[in-house]
């Protein structure tokens, strides 16, 4: 058992041979992460562009279809994700200070929030599968179809956008678990906390995407 306020990492990190020092390595890795996130923005962009175009084309139908979404569920998930971003930020700052137990704890909470988000998402999805408000050919809510013939397209975007986001959440959970195990081994401290920092950047990005999805899908209807 280690002391609760361990001040430095117990596993030594070796700086790769092509870097001058740890700081050089850290800054380079961070730039790489930012570039990756830039790529992510463009990865999501066709869905946003497509959503705006079709919303403009079938304004009425998208308006009617959006009423089917439960904004309370969306709001709950927004709160959950923002909380997870907060605990993630705590994990980063604790890792920087070399506080092993606190880092592990904050990461654990982040993972729990992420699972909480997925549970709410699961409830929403299963409700839609039940109601038949599904993408394209799978749509079978006859009443809604009469009121809004292009509602299936709205649900195409709903599932594509939230689905792609959920995949990012699931991927994030995998990374968080890996980081948590490394944190438990005491790999992070003031000299080396790059993976925690990068995971933090990624996690905030996933959070930010949701911050856009929530009003766009649930509220503007």
């Amino acid at each position: 058992m280690s002391s609760p306020h361990q001040s430095s990492s117990s596993v030594e990190h070796h700086v790769a041979h092509h870097f001058k020092d740890g700081e050089h390595e850290f800054l380079t890795a961070k730039q790489g992460m930012w570039l990756f996130l830039l790529q992510e923005v463009l990865f999501f962009s066709p869905l946003f562009v497509g959503y705006f175009i079709f919303r403009h084309m079938y304004y009425h139908d998208f308006h009617v279809a959006a009423q089917q979404l439960d904004w309370v569920m969306g709001a709950v998930n927004t709160v959950i994700l923002i909380s997870s971003s907060f605990t993630m930020a705590r994990a980063v700052s604790n890792a920087q200070k070399g506080k092993r137990e606190e880092t592990v704890e904050a990461l654990l909470f982040t993972i729990l929030f992420a699972f909480g988000f997925l549970v709410v998402k699961y409830l929403e999805y299963s409700h839609k599968i039940h109601a038949g408000t599904l993408p394209g050919h799978f749509f079978h809510d006859a009443e809604l179809l009469k009121a809004a013939p292009h509602a299936p397209l709205f649900f195409t975007f709903y599932f594509a956008m939230t689905g792609l986001h959920a995949i990012h959440v699931i991927g994030g959970i995998g990374i968080l678990i890996w980081i948590l195990m490394r944190a438990r081994r005491g790999e992070f401290g003031p000299k080396y906390f790059t993976p925690v920092e990068l995971t933090g950047l990624y996690w905030h990005f996933v959070d930010l995407v949701w911050i856009y999805l929530f009003p766009l899908l649930y509220l503007v209807g």
């Binding site: 790769a16 041979h17 092509h18 050089h24 800054l27 380079t28 890795a29 730039q31 790489g32 570039l35 990756f36 830039l38 790529q39 992510e40 463009l42 990865f43 999501f44 962009s45 066709p46 869905l47 562009v49 497509g50 175009i53 079709f54 079938y58 993408p135 394209g136 050919h137 799978f138 013939p149 292009h150 299936p152 397209l153 195409t156 975007f157 599932f159 594509a160 792609l164």
Partner: protein, 532 residues
């Protein structure tokens, strides 16, 4: 970490197949890319020869229309995604970029290796579609045909999706490397133009590729689940697919051509023994092209039913590509002016590039012009144009790069005489193949058909004969390069008297790239620096 042992180099240390397959050394990863790309180039080339053979006579020659559709689809897909896009950045760039910077490796060696295996996996998936009835959509996968055809189009777009990530990884790696791993003294204004070109290319790779990636996912979902985004029957819009597709694929042609331009800049200065004319203008023009790349995609869609306003705007904007491109061409020509030119194989390819790329570029202006394009759309004129840019531009530059850096890669010299013969055959064959296609196209011969009216027979036969000349040229190149690889005379560290940093190291370089930590004290093309 592997440390340099006296007398060893990256090729012979460490030893063993495993040390190659799991290598983190950028030079070895570059070589893995290099030989994989050569293999896929052979595959794509065989498909090209089959196309030309079928078009030898009107009507059925060696295959029917359905087979023909598949053959040109594979030619296009293999050449675009597996050959031309990674050809210069991933193979040449991987090896040369850190060395030109004076770095020991790229910023993220593991990401680099991952990018190679992602590429290889994607390429395997793409070729595997051959065993699932093949793909007949053309490399552009236009909806709604691609969402309905019974062939393995879904699998093929997933292959392109996978290979896209390889391209993104390489782009991220190169940008971070150029920013963070420059040797002392390697300032931005001393950066060789090849690196400026790779930088601009990487920006496009990182910003454009993800758009295609997601679009292809949507296309695959459309095929499997009928989600309706691109299907007019479900309220979707097939033209939206074209917009998304060309938002990537127009910049993608600059992923192909910018690194080629970078190579040409290096080769032309070295073999003219003169500093490049207008270094800063060249660097700015490189980024100018990359920037304009993102706002011209609609020129592929003049007859797709997009609005007249959009057509007009895209036609107008496309003209701007000609400005930075013109700056480059004039700059190369001005560099040649009063230079002491030597005609070694790299230079011959660079001069061939100047000649054919200029034709490719100028016919691009013809196609960018709205009125002429409506007439020329989907004719062989377009086919000739982009082959003049892709083959005449990128492939010529690739051959220049292969000959230029061959001594550095392998520590041996190739034989100059057969290189010149092979260059002549490729250059001649290229023009014999594609010049007639301009004529056939401007007279209305449509592309993508296995058949044509008899009037076009002689033009097509000329074109087919040209394709054999190219093939012969490449066979000769394969033979003398393979011979040089094993039996060629030992290369000195700097056989061309270049000034860029990679030539300061031994040929082939040691594992750590340089036996001393390099410091840069002069510009990349300062040939008369010592005299000063």
């Amino acid at each position: 970490m592997s440390t340099a042992v006296a007398g060893t180099n990256y090729l012979n240390y460490p030893k063993g197949l495993k040390s190659w397959l799991f290598t983190l050394d950028h030079k070895r990863i570059g070589m893995l890319y290099f030989f994989s790309i050569l293999f896929f180039f052979l595959v794509g080339g065989i498909f090209a020869l089959l196309i030309r053979l079928e078009l030898m006579t009107p009507g059925f020659t060696i295959m029917g229309p359905d087979t023909y559709n598949k053959v040109f689809t594979y030619h296009g897909t293999v050449m675009v995604f597996m050959v031309i896009i990674p050809m210069i950045p991933a193979a040449m760039g991987n090896f040369i970029l850190p060395m030109m910077l004076g770095a020991k490796d790229v910023a993220f060696p593991r990401l680099n290796l991952a990018s190679y295996y992602v590429y290889l996996f994607g390429a395997m998936v793409a070729l595997a579609t051959l065993f699932f009835k093949g793909v007949d959509t053309g490399w552009t996968f236009y909806a709604p045909y691609s969402t309905r055809t019974g062939s393995a189009a879904g699998m093929m777009v997933m292959a392109a999706f996978i290979m896209g990530f390889s391209s993104i990884f390489t782009g991220i790696n190169f940008i971070a490397t150029i920013h963070k791993l420059r040797a002392p003294g390697q300032t931005w204004t001393r950066l060789p133009l090849f690196l400026w070109a790779l930088y601009a290319t990487s920006v496009i790779q990182v910003l454009a590729t993800p758009v295609l990636a997601l679009t292809l996912v949507l296309l695959a979902l459309e095929r499997v689940f009928g989600i309706g985004i691109f299907d007019p029957a479900l309220g979707g819009d097939p033209v939206l697919f074209q917009h998304f597709f060309w938002f990537y694929s127009h910049p993608a042609v600059y992923i192909m051509i910018l690194p080629a331009m970078g190579v040409i800049s290096e080769v032309i200065t070295v073999f003219s023994r003169k500093n490049i004319f207008g270094y800063k203008a060249m660097a700015v023009a490189t980024f100018g092209i990359a920037l304009v790349a993102f706002i011209v995609w609609g020129h592929h869609m003049f007859v797709s039913g997009q609005s007249h306003t959009a057509n007009f705007v895209f036609s107008f904007l496309t003209m701007f590509v000609a400005i930075p491109t013109g700056v480059k061409v004039f700059s190369w020509v001005a560099t040649l002016y009063k230079g002491s030119i030597s005609f070694y194989a790299p230079m011959l390819y660079a001069l061939a590039f100047l000649f054919v790329f200029t034709i490719g570029g100028l016919t691009g202006v013809v196609l960018a012009t709205l009125a002429t394009d409506v007439h020329l759309t989907d004719t062989y004129y377009v086919v000739a144009h982009f082959h003049y840019v892709m083959v005449g531009g990128t492939l010529m530059a690739f051959m220049a790069a292969v000959h230029y850096w061959f001594p550095k890669f392998f520590g041996r010299m190739y034989a100059e005489a057969p290189a010149r013969v092979s260059w002549f055959l490729i250059f001649l064959g290229f023009n014999v193949t594609f010049l007639p296609q301009f004529i056939a196209g401007s007279r209305g011969m449509p592309r993508r058909y296995y058949d044509y009216v008899p009037e076009f027979t002689w033009l097509n036969q000329l074109s087919t004969i040209g394709s054999w000349l190219i093939a012969l040229g490449f066979v000769i190149a394969a033979v003398y390069l393979a011979y040089a690889l094993f039996k060629g005379p030992k290369a000195p560290a700097n056989p061309w008297n270049s000034r860029t940093l990679e030539w300061e190291s031994e040929s082939p370089p040691p594992v750590e790239n340089f036996s001393h930590d390099p410091v840069v004290r002069h510009g990349p093309y300062d040939y008369h620096w010592e005299a000063k």
